[in-house]
């Protein structure tokens, strides 16, 4: 294991608050990602607590997207080589016995840009449930419940059969969140979910995240430090593929341990 660049903890060290074992839902250990010879993530070891919101921040290109895509085995679709471990409730999801499709059902994902399917609002939310051939009542109930959780129900309850593409960008993003929630995932990954939204739509998504953590574990990538401070219980700082710090959010922003973190949050680079 090589040491990180200046000021970084050595690769593979678990950084941050020690959670009791039963609190940890997702854990990476010495996670390293390569694209050909290039290392995109270097020995990231990180434990995410259940039913909390964890934020991942860091300058553009530091590997945030790559990290969350490793957490539900999306990264390998882009031809990246992954080594190290990712454990979901103690089970290594990269074990050859584990089916990646199953992993992605348990660990849902919301992308930077809304990616609605060109079908009705109802069908978009029903997507995951239909894949499992659920009965009509189950699908109906799931759609309503997820739309409510995503804070979209009041706006679309009359229009479930209308094309999802007719919704505004902010509504589309909440629809994607509803779609991800419909299959009751254990963890919801969000990659900069508000970066293409206006402040009001952003506010709505943030409110919703706040509600979600009562039932779900949320891991959110964000460019925006204020957003991390507002929604996250814990915040991780990633720099050039290395994990610098993972801390309870208030502690993270008020008295970061690493000099690098302090420089970043005071806007001295990035």
């Amino acid at each position: 294991m090589s040491g990180g660049p200046d000021g970084l903890p050595p690769d593979g060290t678990v950084v941050g608050p020690p959670f009791p074992r039963e609190e940890i839902i997702l854990l990476t250990s010495d996670l390293t990602v390569r694209s050909g010879p290039r290392e995109i993530l270097s020995g990231v070891s990180l434990a995410f607590p259940r039913q909390k919101v964890s934020a991942i921040i860091g300058p553009s290109g530091c590997g945030k997207t790559t990290l969350v895509r490793c957490l539900n085995r999306m990264a390998e679709l882009a031809g990246l080589t992954i080594s190290g471990e990712v454990r979901y409730r103690g089970r290594d999801i990269y074990d050859p016995q584990v089916n990646p499709v199953q992993v992605r059902r348990r660990i849902g994902m919301v992308f930077q840009r809304p990616t609605v399917f060109p079908s009705s609002i109802y069908e978009n939310v029903a997507f995951g449930l239909r894949l499992e051939r659920e009965s009509r009542e189950v699908v109906d109930r799931g759609v309503v419940r997820s739309l409510k959780r995503a804070g979209l129900w009041e706006e679309v309850r009359e229009d479930l059969d209308r094309p999802a593409l007719a919704l505004s960008g902010g509504q589309q993003q909440r629809l994607c969140i509803a779609r991800a929630l419909a299959v009751e995932p254990g963890v919801l990954l969000m990659d900069e979910p508000t970066s293409s939204l206006d402040p009001i739509a952003t506010q709505k998504v943030e409110d919703m995240i706040y509600e979600l953590k009562k039932e779900y574990t949320v891991i959110i990538v964000t460019h925006n430090m204020q957003q991390a401070a507002r929604v996250a219980d814990y915040t991780a700082f990633l720099y050039q593929g290395h994990l610098v710090e993972f801390e309870e959010t208030r502690q993270f922003f008020e008295s970061p341990r690493a000099k690098l973190t302090e420089n970043y949050i005071t806007g001295r680079f990035g």
Partner: protein
């Protein structure tokens, strides 16, 4: 003139860049020329088509009637029932074969095949598209008529025709699935679908209008082909007795009778009518595909923006 610039003061216009300079003049003049040339080109494209339609129509229409469609050719006259139904059977069976194989293979190439396999598939399809129809017919003759010790049959004709149509369906399907935005694939797989489920539930509805027009295009091309059929489906003036007997077909009728002396009944007129039916058939296919595709496209409005 005072220093205070009034409306229409040229020096101000120059300062503001509002006076066209020589280069702008040239572009405007060029634009005007293009404006006259483009409609000319348009007419040049349309003229042969309209002339052709007029020529065939004026020969075919005066004596075209319902009986032409419902009676068999007899002697030097009669109708086009046998070739019409023959073409429908041939194209129908060939479409079923080429459609199934082409769509499955195209979807496979776009989603599952390794880059190298996809490259080879596309290359071979291009090669097959470029292969002269007569060569495909010759191949069909060897493989389906000589090799099986059979005679000319409707089967052999339909299969050979499907080989001819296959690359069109395949390439269009491959391109249609390939043009589905990658974000849809990620969203689908990210929601826990398998790749097969993605293809069927997400990609197919998006690719469908394009796949359908490819299929109809292949049908239109197939309907007009003569060469792949001559050595395989043979020729018959009576309706096909089944899949294992030779058959009649519209393009074959034209091929056989267009040059008969015109004092021999109205075989030449019948050839014109066969041509007319083929053109109308292609037209109907085109309109149908537009209508169906439009319904799907409406669903996709704002999607490819």
């Amino acid at each position: 003139m005072t220093a205070a610039a009034g409306a229409g003061d040229l020096s101000v216009d120059i300062e503001l860049g509002l006076v066209p300079d020589r280069r702008v003049h040239r572009r405007v003049a060029w634009d005007r020329w293009l404006g006259r040339l483009l409609p000319l080109a348009f007419v040049a494209v349309l003229f042969p088509i309209i002339d052709l339609l007029y020529w065939i129509g004026s020969e075919a229409l005066p004596t075209l009637s319902w009986t032409t469609l419902t009676t068999n050719p007899v002697g030097f006259g009669g109708g086009l029932y046998a070739p019409l139904t023959g073409t429908v059977y041939l194209v129908g069976i060939a479409t079923a074969i080429a459609g199934t194989l082409g769509i499955v293979a195209g979807a496979y190439t776009a989603e599952f095949a390794s880059p190298r396999a996809a490259l080879i598939g596309r290359l071979l399809a291009n090669l097959l598209t470029g292969t002269p129809a007569i060569v495909v017919g010759y191949f069909g003759y060897f493989a389906l008529v000589l090799y099986t010790h059979s005679t000319f049959t409707l089967w052999a004709g339909a299969i050979t025709l499907s080989i001819f149509m296959l690359p069109y369906v395949y390439r269009v399907t491959d391109a249609a699935f390939g043009s589905v935005p990658p974000s849809q694939r990620e969203a689908s797989l990210g929601a826990g679908s398998t790749r097969g489920q993605y293809l069927r539930r997400v990609a197919l509805p998006i690719a469908f209008p394009q796949v359908l027009s490819g299929l109809f295009l292949a049908m239109a091309i197939g309907a007009g082909e003569t060469a792949p059929l001559l050595f395989t489906a043979g020729w018959s003036i009576t309706p096909a007795q089944g899949l294992s007997s030779p058959t009649s077909y519209l393009s074959g009728f034209i091929w056989n009778y267009f040059d008969q002396p015109s004092n021999l009944g109205h075989l030449v007129i019948l050839s014109f009518q066969a041509a007319f039916l083929l053109i109308v058939g292609v037209l109907v296919l085109n309109v149908a595909v537009q209508l169906v595709a439009e319904r799907y496209r409406r669903r996709l409005r704002g999607f490819f923006a």
